[in-house]
Subunit: 355 residues, 2 copies
């Protein structure tokens, strides 16, 4: 982090994003900030987190204040001997910056506040073994939840009922609160990539699109499977085969050093060659870690480069309004220049029941 | 809203807070913004929410864009004939404002962007009958969950197990995802107002502090009860009686037109007269609505005035490090100048089991 700060000409970074505070300092509460310089690190929070911050935050000074957090931060900026302090422009609201500036006027009059973006996030994109192990554990959970879903999904069940069964299974098997509400969509409803589970009942031959995440030690996993309750019709079976082939093309073709835009193209070409190019309306994937969506971005617009240690999703999809949709998504890690899957649920045989 | 804008000299308000978008336009998705002037209202979102926004957002124009949302917002600001546009400084990040300003430079060069705070929030503080009915429904759910907790809490059960039982009960009886993770703390752990449920087992005579919320139609309820698994010792029984008396003093004394600071004092005096003044370290309550914490603020620092139609919590607490703690909280509405409770769980007999 300190090298990264120096390379951008920053003496100091004021950290306030919740995920970044957890990543750099281990703090899991909801309110805090930290002043990081080349020589020191000070973590600040309010009295609700007194005991918790002292047990979680190691290797740096902890200050608990009953007065305004940004007043204390401004005081530290004024006394720690720095001139240029970056702040996280994507995490800080305009109102908070205004409060910080007011405090700084009196307490750190010479400080120059500089908005920075994606500084900690870029470091976070490459995971260490501890992080990969946590994401693997969270991946075991979503694998288990899909196995559970396969065993209970049947004609007449509603999207809402299955979504809750999955969430309950995940929580009762060790996941933290869901990183996003489980998506369960069936039949034509699958054409909405972001569908909210409702009271639609599964009909014979329907695709049932399931997109879920779990959390272990703060780290997320992300998995989508499209199951069929009974044999699908020819159109949707063909769509499924195309999406699976597209995912395989990306899985087997991605290498360390590849531009994310080229990784996206590996899958997109397969979909386009099948005539469904227009129906794949989102990017191929996204980084997964402390946040469910983080760097790298794997899309046709991305400027990221994929390197070993990055954990991300590979999730092509085809959505046909009025007909249905298929998405197949795995969380993977790039290692030894190859893609290794962390989620491993069955996907060659998506038909989970007869009718 | 338009009167409120005019009174602050704003021709236009750019709405981006998620709760405010739901309140003013009915939109329940995660990404959108709106331009509200005296003559028109335009809601904007991305293609993921195309169908959803067209069914949810009524009485105003809906635009779906595949390009940058803030670019579209800047275009509308440039063409809708306004000069002074407020933006929500507590909801907008510095990075988003910077993007908006860049777009505005080309598309709305004459616009003056003004940071505003608590504009929609002040209007939201007074609820109508539809909102009160939704909060009442959410209150029935937390009442039921506490009844369930009373029936199963016993010596040897862990905080974590009871917290999950409560969450599961709420979800299976109609609540949306929790507005905050349920708090269950027992014994000395109750001295932490913000305790995270852990594997501590309930011991005979322990206080078990439960703080939970539910959501119906987007509206929250908030309730705390302190139960006892077996008869409590004299100290904690006395603390319970004090907190209950403090809550009663506030419940029976609050009137429409009262300063929130005076409402807070009604309960605080009872606690202070019992010698526990220092142990009541938070405000008396907070507004409840689309957000679990909103206006009015009921504390010794508040500048709010309580009026009919406001929904808020009354939640005195006493926390004794190393010993335990008690909090009793209800969600109430101010009506006909009196406090009416929306949550109604038993609180005169907190002992829920023998041991």
């Amino acid at each position: 982090m300190r090298e990264s700060m120096a390379s951008r000409g920053l003496d100091c970074l004021l950290v306030s994003s919740r995920e970044n505070l957890r990543y750099l300092f281990g703090f899991t509460g909801s309110n805090g900030c930290a002043v990081l310089t080349q020589d020191e690190a000070v973590f600040m929070t309010d009295p609700r987190y007194d005991e918790q911050s002292r047990s979680e935050v190691v290797g740096c000074e902890v200050c608990v204040t009953t007065t305004a957090l940004w007043g204390l931060a401004a005081s530290r900026l004024g006394t720690c001997g720095v001139r240029t302090a970056g702040f996280e422009a994507e995490a800080m609201t305009v109102a908070t910056l205004s409060a910080l500036e007011s405090h700084a006027k009196g307490k750190a009059p010479d400080i120059v506040l500089v908005p920075v973006q994606q500084l900690v996030e870029t470091v976070r994109a490459v995971k260490d073994e501890y992080e990969i192990a946590a994401i693997s554990s969270a991946s075991r959970l979503v694998d288990g939840a899909i196995e559970h879903a396969r065993s209970i999904a049947q004609v007449g069940m509603t999207e809402r009922a299955l979504a809750w069964e999955i969430e309950r299974w995940l929580r009762e098997h060790g996941s933290g609160p869901m990183p996003f509400p489980p998506i369960v969509a069936s039949g034509p409803h699958c054409a909405h990539p972001h569908a909210t589970p409702c009271d639609i009942e599964f009909c014979c031959g329907d695709p049932v699109l399931i997109d879920i995440g779990a959390v272990v030690d703060g780290y997320c996993s992300d998995l989508s499977r499209t199951l069929f309750v009974g044999e699908p019709n020819g159109t949707i079976a063909g769509v499924y085969a195309t999406v699976l082939a597209a995912q395989h093309a990306a899985m087997s073709g991605i290498r360390s050093g590849m531009n994310a835009v080229d990784a996206d193209a590996l899958a997109r070409e397969v979909v386009r060659d099948s005539g469904y190019g227009e129906a794949f309306g989102h990017g191929l994937g996204h980084g997964v870690g402390l946040a469910i969506h983080e760097r790298p971005t794997v899309s046709s617009l991305s400027k990221d480069v994929l390197v070993d240690g990055m954990v991300f999703t590979i999730e092509p999809g085809i959505y046909l309004p009025g007909v249905g949709g298929v998405r197949i998504e795995d969380t993977v890690v790039l290692r030894g220049s190859e893609v290794q899957t962390l989620t491993r649920s069955e996907k060659r045989n998506p038909v989970c029941t007869t009718c």
